[in-house]
Amino acid sequence: MVTNEKIIETNDVHLYYGKNEALKGITLDFNPNEITALIGPSGCGKSTYLRTLNRMNDLIQDVTITGQVKYKGKDIYSPKMDTVELRKKIGMVFQQPNPFPFSVFDNVAYGLRISGMKDKQKIQHIVEESLKKAAVWDDVKDKLHDSALALSGGQQQRVCIARVIAIEPEIILLDEPTSALDPVSSGKIENMLLELKENYTMIMVTHNMQQASRISDNTAFFLQGHLIEHGKTRQIFTNPTQQETEDYISGRFG
């Protein structure tokens, strides 16, 4: 029986780019309906780890992954795993806003259309709902049929989040979703993520310590491919057990 406790479990995950070991045995679990922040200096492997969770690393040549990644108790690296279905359940938002060069509406409807939805009214409804949930409806409701590339960076990123929400994933992976945005846009996205927490599990890579402490429930600190420490965000930020964590959080390196 699958317990409701952990939605993703990873066990001793190693990842190699060619011969270079980027992840050196990561064991980490995620609870449903919580936000987990992955922090650490650039190149520490946190983005790489995030991308193992929806098998985006498959797209890169010469990648070897060992260990186990389980989504709801199922090994996602088993040969029987359908990556297409998996990625519908585990959505991803990238660092750079990357809307397609289509209209706002077509961007959000994309996921619905590729999974075969034909009912126009239903699509319209879901697109509207998703844009509302992503807190960008008011910005774009009059420009649904204009190119998404004409929007500002913050609006683009929220459209990208709406695009992911539209396919109703259970987990949303966020790879530094606000690092390319100004503080106002970042704030809007943070508030939105807090609201989305009710329905989604979120795992977010961030370089912004304040952001991690503001919105995450759990924090995991990565360093040079190792998971140094993880736990409740409050505890990691106020009372870390490891010296490296404390040094990083207080800005002494990284």
Binding site: L86, N98, P99, F100, L149, R163
Partner: protein, 307 residues
């Protein structure tokens, strides 16, 4: 103080050098522009003399369907209707582009999306080789292989628009393919990632995102292929049969602007109507080349605006 001032106002060695380089490159550019303008002037003024000196009406020339320079019709006007060649040129251009486009795009998709390794190792050199083969070789192959092949299947002489289309198809395929490859390459990686991360299959990603994002580039590729087909002379002339008749089907001899030009240019005397009217054909070719050029620029601009 004075010393510094003179240092700043005097031309330094470096600056003189800069100016020298700038002058040289300006002269080169001016020379190229001059050559192009003179060619344009020469061809167009010669082409127009059919209408100004010889009094042929433009309508008769563009839409007349009898091409017998040197003879006059019942109404006394010279028989220089260029419609058969104009139609022939358009037919072979459009047909070969329609035929080549799917192959070129499919090959480009294979090279970029499906198997970049094989694409780079095998297909790329093959395509580069195809571009480098001289057109007389294509024409010769067409003459010895395609023409008899079509004769055996459809009867007739085997010369005609179909043979020309086949030869042009092979000739423009590498051009269109390599430009289509560039167009697909220019689609940012993150579009593909976004689609795959949302549970798009590889085919959905290619079909709905990559091809859609690359559409302006792909159109440019096709137009370039058409421009090449429109201007190709030698290979077409060897297989089309060169009968200046309005084409009624694909397997009887026909002609194109270029094929009639290459056939007749050695047999006319400068300054006569027979010669002038060839310049008029050349003018049409020039205008069409300009048109294709403007079209690709326009597509490029439209595509850029969308981004």
């Amino acid at each position: 103080m004075e010393e510094t001032q003179s240092k700043f106002t005097q031309k330094s060695q470096k600056r003189k050098f800069e100016q020298f380089g700038r002058t040289i490159s300006f002269i080169c550019i001016a020379f190229i522009v001059l050559v192009v303008l003179s060619i344009l002037y020469f061809v167009i003024s010669k082409g127009l003399s059919t209408f100004t000196t010889d009094g042929v009406s433009v309508i008769d020339f563009l839409f007349g369907n009898t091409w017998r320079p040197g003879e006059v019709g019942e109404n006394g006007a010279p028989l220089v209707g260029a419609l058969p060649m104009i139609l022939g040129s358009f037919y072979v251009t459009l047909l070969s582009a329609v035929l080549a486009t799917p192959f070129a795009i499919a090959a480009a998709i294979y090279m970029i999306e499906i198997s970049p390794k094989n694409g780079k190792k095998i297909l790329q050199p093959v395509i580069e080789l195809l571009v480098g083969i001289p057109s007389v070789v294509y024409g010769f192959i067409g003459l010895t292989v395609i023409v008899p092949f079509i004769r055996n299947i459809f009867g007739g002489t085997g010369f005609g628009i179909l043979s020309a289309t086949m030869v042009l198809f092979v000739m423009i395929l590498p051009t269109v393919t390599s430009m289509a490859v560039d167009a697909l390459n220019a689609v940012p990686r993150h579009y593909r990632e976004a689609s795959l991360a949302m549970g798009g299959t590889r085919w959905q990603t290619i079909y709905k995102v990559v091809l859609r994002a690359a559409t302006p580039g792909l159109l440019t590729a096709v137009v370039f292929g058409m421009a090449r087909a429109f201007g190709e002379a030698l290979a077409v002339q060897m297989v089309i049969g060169n009968a200046a008749l309005v084409p009624t089907d694909l397997i009887t001899p026909a002609s194109t602007l270029t094929s009639i030009l290459t056939m007749s240019m050695g047999n006319t005397v400068m300054g006569t109507l027979e010669n002038n009217v060839l310049w008029s054909l050349a003018t049409i070719l020039l205008v069409m080349a300009l048109f294709f050029n403007i079209l690709t620029r326009w597509i490029g601009k439209k595509g850029a605006m969308k981004k």
